[in-house]
């Protein structure tokens, strides 16, 4: 049951109806039953045991932590280690056991439970917060089960933080006309992104990525751009549907996107793209890593040897390498992800850090201003371009193919193909191409209104929705 299918709409409408007609203390029961039903249907039956088991382990270990209290800190730590090791262990086993084998190559694919990495991160974060004392333990197993398996978050997140959403899920919610209509509007906007834009952009990017040999020069860059549009509208569209659905139920989920393509730097991009993953990685990987005795010691040694600024930078560069490797690995067990969504972004940031003093010295001499609107626009376009290169790795069959594609991209100077009708041979006919162009323009205009200060754009949403498009899967669904 894809969330863009008519079956999902009927399922969701039934949940919504039941949710507001039953007594309020039963509302979370409806959500739990709905979530289990959804998982059973959409996540292929017996695989439901994975998240149920993950919640069971989390419930049990957090119970041990609470029972251990302040007197037995070792027992608390041991319980946390068991929780993390078993959940991350299952994730690693299922996802990375065939590292390097691309999807096409592996015949004996392991069946992945729906939302695996999303519920894993949500539950691990919760257990760490309980151990840290900043989340109150959920004593009721079934309430924790709902937190781990809340159906709108089972497709592609967002990764939740217990102190933000945990209590909301089980609290009584009164029917609020404004919130329900707002949520429904948000869902429609998501369907528009996914069905009108993403599905069409996918046709173009697939054609080029599948047979890139036949499409040198500007075709490659057009294909990369189409994939970036496809990926963004797919993932953020899915989030609009999920967050909107939760909103109709009176539950506010964390945002995952804030107009990422208006970012001026790669660092900023990661604060606006897949936000909940970035926050999770920062809180549970990056900070703890920097706080380990090893890194504290390294930091001191580096500072003594190379001075304050350089010493600090070196420590951060090292810690960031580990962080970006983790981000890359999270995307999938293949070098194309480790490079395209990990190391490449690490390199961008380090390169920027290292060359900044140079540019600060040289640019004023060349009378190039580093402040102002022109410079900002340059930074936005540069960041967008760098992100596109990473996405070529993301979508190519392998890292080797991505390198070949990028080489082909600079092998020929043929920008005329963008205007002479050649693009109409890529699988979309004139009318579909026009729909895509107009829709992307609408999306761009809306995003622009959202980033411009002090302006509130009223958005009229229109979409092309039909059974022909209902079988589409989301890209991040497999992660």
């Amino acid at each position: 049951m894809e969330i863009t299918s008519f079956a999902f709409i009927i399922f969701f409408a039934s949940i919504l109806l039941l949710y507001y007609i039953v007594p309020k203390r039963w509302q979370w029961g409806i959500l739990l039953a709905g979530s289990l039903f959804y998982y059973w249907i959409a996540g292929s039956s017996l695989l439901i045991l994975y998240p149920v088991l993950a919640v069971t382990v989390t419930w049990f270990t957090t119970w041990v932590m609470e029972a251990a209290g302040e007197e037995h800190p070792r027992r608390r730590t041991a319980a946390l280690i068991v929780e993390i090791a078993s959940l991350i262990g299952v994730l690693a086993l299922l996802k990375y056991i065939r590292f390097g084998e691309t999807e096409a190559g592996g015949a004996a694919a392991v069946a992945l439970p729906l939302g695996l990495s999303f519920y894993t991160f949500t539950l691990v974060g919760y257990a760490i917060d309980v151990e840290d004392g900043i989340a109150r333990r959920q004593k009721n197993f079934f309430k924790l089960l709902l937190y781990g398996m809340f159906f709108p978050t089972m497709i592609s997140g967002p990764i939740q933080i217990y102190r933000e959403t945990g209590e909301q899920l089980t609290a009584p919610h009164r029917f609020d006309y404004d919130r329900v209509t707002k949520g429904l509007q948000r869902m429609v906007w998501g369907f528009f992104k996914k069905l009108v834009i993403s599905e069409r952009a996918a046709v173009l990017s697939n054609t080029i990525f599948d047979q890139y040999d036949a499409y040198p020069g500007a075709y490659i860059w057009f294909g990369a751009l189409m994939f970036t549009i496809q990926l963004y509208t797919d993932f953020s569209g899915c989030m609009d549907i999920c967050i909107g659905a939760a909103e109709t139920l009176g539950i506010t989920l964390p945002e995952n996107f804030r107009q990422p393509f208006f970012s001026k730097t790669i660092q900023e991009y990661w604060q606006r793209w897949h936000i909940t993953l970035g926050v999770w990685m920062r809180n549970y990987v990056f900070y703890p890593l920097l706080r380990t005795p090893l890194f504290m010691k390294l930091s001191k040694t580096f500072r003594k040897k190379f001075g304050r600024k350089a010493g600090k930078d070196l420590t951060n560069i090292l810690a960031m390498f580990i962080l970006w490797s983790a981000v890359g690995l999270w995307h999938g067990g293949d070098f194309k992800y480790v490079i395209g969504s990990g190391w490449l972004h690490w390199f961008y940031i380090v390169f920027g850090m290292v060359t900044l003093p140079f540019f600060k010295k040289v640019l004023p001499k060349l009378h190039i201003r580093m402040e102002g609107k022109g410079a900002d626009l340059f930074r936005i376009l540069r960041t967008f371009f760098l992100v596109n290169i990473g996405n070529v790795f993301f979508n190519a069959k392998s890292a080797g193919d991505a390198v070949k594609m990028l080489r082909l991209g600079v092998s020929e100077w043929n920008p005329q193909i963008l205007l002479n009708g050649s693009l109409l041979t890529l699988g979309l006919d004139g009318p579909d191409m026009a729909v895509l162009a107009v829709s992307v323009a609408v999306l761009f205009a809306v995003s622009l209104l959202e980033v411009l200060p002090d302006r509130n754009g009223k958005v009229i949403v229109f979409g092309n929705y039909g059974p022909g498009y209902s079988s589409s899967a989301f890209i991040y669904q497999g992660f």
């Binding site: 917060d129 840290d132 900043i134 920062r282 990056f286 900070y287 920097l290």
Partner: protein
């Protein structure tokens, strides 16, 4: 230690970490108010504060403090 005393010391730490002598923090100061206070610098700041006051922050406190006021609350609860 009174809040005023904590703030006096804390201002020095902030000025030192962010290399800016004009910084003066108060309860409502957040990372948005100080140039260069990103996630990397946050940990450096925490380590510097820990050294200055001879205390230790828990990981949960580090990720959940929302402004300088909350940081001072934690410091006040740990130093006698």
């Amino acid at each position: 230690m009174s809040r005023e005393e904590i703030y006096e010391k804390l201002n020095d730490v902030f000025r030192d970490v962010f290399d800016d002598d004009s910084i003066t923090v108060n309860d409502a100061t957040t990372s948005a108010d100080i140039d260069g206070w990103d996630s990397l610098e946050h940990i450096n700041l925490i380590s510097a504060v820990e050294q200055e006051f001879g205390i230790h922050f828990g990981m949960g406190q580090i990720v959940s403090m929302k402004n300088v006021g909350e940081m001072v609350d934690i410091i006040a609860s740990k130093v006698k």
